[in-house]
Amino acid sequence: MQYHAPTSIDDALRLLAAKDGNCQILAGGTDLLVRLHSETGDDPESILDIKRIDELRAITPEAGGWRIGAAVSGAEMGEHAGLVADWPGVVEAMNLIGSTQIQGRATLAGNLCNASPAADSVPAMVAAGAMARIAGPEGARDIPVAEVPTAPGRTSLGKAEFITSIHLPARPEGGGDAYLRFIPRSEMDIAVVGCGVALTLDEAGICNAARVSLGAVGPVVMLVEAGAEALIGTAVDDAALDALASVCSDAASPIDDKRGTVAFRTHVAGVLARRAASIARTRAGGAS
């Protein structure tokens, strides 16, 4: 195995192209190194560490929102007051990942590209309308975060491509977001269900835009259009929250596994959607 730590995106792209697919990107390594040490025998030929590329290490304001470099850790996101103020749900989702030690290394883009159905930051990013910037041989392109994972452990990225940053849009006037997950303990576990909600209230307190997403209840994160419809045009009151819970439970198509049954996950999808939406409503300045 070889280790490469290029200092520019162009050098990284050249290396990726030369390795023709047998090269793994290393960001925080909190998924990749667990896999490397698991003795499955299918180790990559090379590892490409992106943390020496300066422009991937920063959180920068852009278009009223924030561009988060692919080498920024969860801990750094949690310490960034501006980002926390604008997208508390996304930051909380990221900060739920693992322990203090894991937070020192884990990245948003790594969570996304690992493509676990239960990845915590992904539903929050999808609700926020985040875009992933992908560098590749043909230049850079931006795609919605929801289009990155295609199946458990698989992404839509080409062999010679990688994510250089994630962009969170400007927080709209009257906007608020939240992410909640259910785990059997209070720390250090993988989501049984996760739910992200981002919504906007007008001056009268009526919801005029919403995005609702679910994690761990299907092979990839899902954007629940019916969830948005249940909220838009309402004051996000109890009736709207009941409707939201019911469409989210309907949308969930989970599997049975050791962490939760189909019936439990289906029910909890609705419960979390209701709770996340009321937190988002409060953050948007609505009645709490």
């Binding site: 195995m1 070889q2 280790y3 730590a5 290393l26 925080g28 390594g29 909190t30 190194l33 667990v34 490397l36 040490h37 180790d43 090379s46 590892i47 560490d49 943390k51 850790s73 801990a75 693992g98 322990s99 203090t100 030690q101 894991i102 020192g104 290394r105 209070s186 720390e187 250090m188």
Partner: protein
Amino acid sequence: MSKIHVTTTINGDPVDYLCDAGESLLDVLRDRLGMTGSKEGCGTGDCGACSVTVDGRLVCSCLMLGAEAEGREIATIEGMADGETLHPLQRKFIEHAALQCGICTPGILVAAQSLLERNPDPTEEETRYWLAGNLCRCTGYDKIIRAVLDAAKEMREAP
């Protein structure tokens, strides 16, 4: 296969070593540098027994490559005591009997020190959350938490 030459700083001292691309920092510390204070409990980032700081940031050394340490500042449990003088955290762990088998202790001490550097007056809840990635199968955690809070108090009151 050629080895990677790494120059880094460990507990303030310049260090260099040769390692393989896939080798963890933990294996480098223990097997190449003879610094066996950091322990391997799980090798998958769950137990925290291998905790070190890298440029002041708490991490699991089992989930970092030795090659990544190039130019960084690493701090391990070996750098905690000042010669024969124990760090207040170390002393309080002994006073409160906050350890039994001792495998988790180095990682917990490094993690607790990193907490107190950021927050000299943590609540019990903050301390428990900060240390949630450090597993101890002997003590039931209570004495560990008491030792950390007591050390924090002593360090705050120190002139």
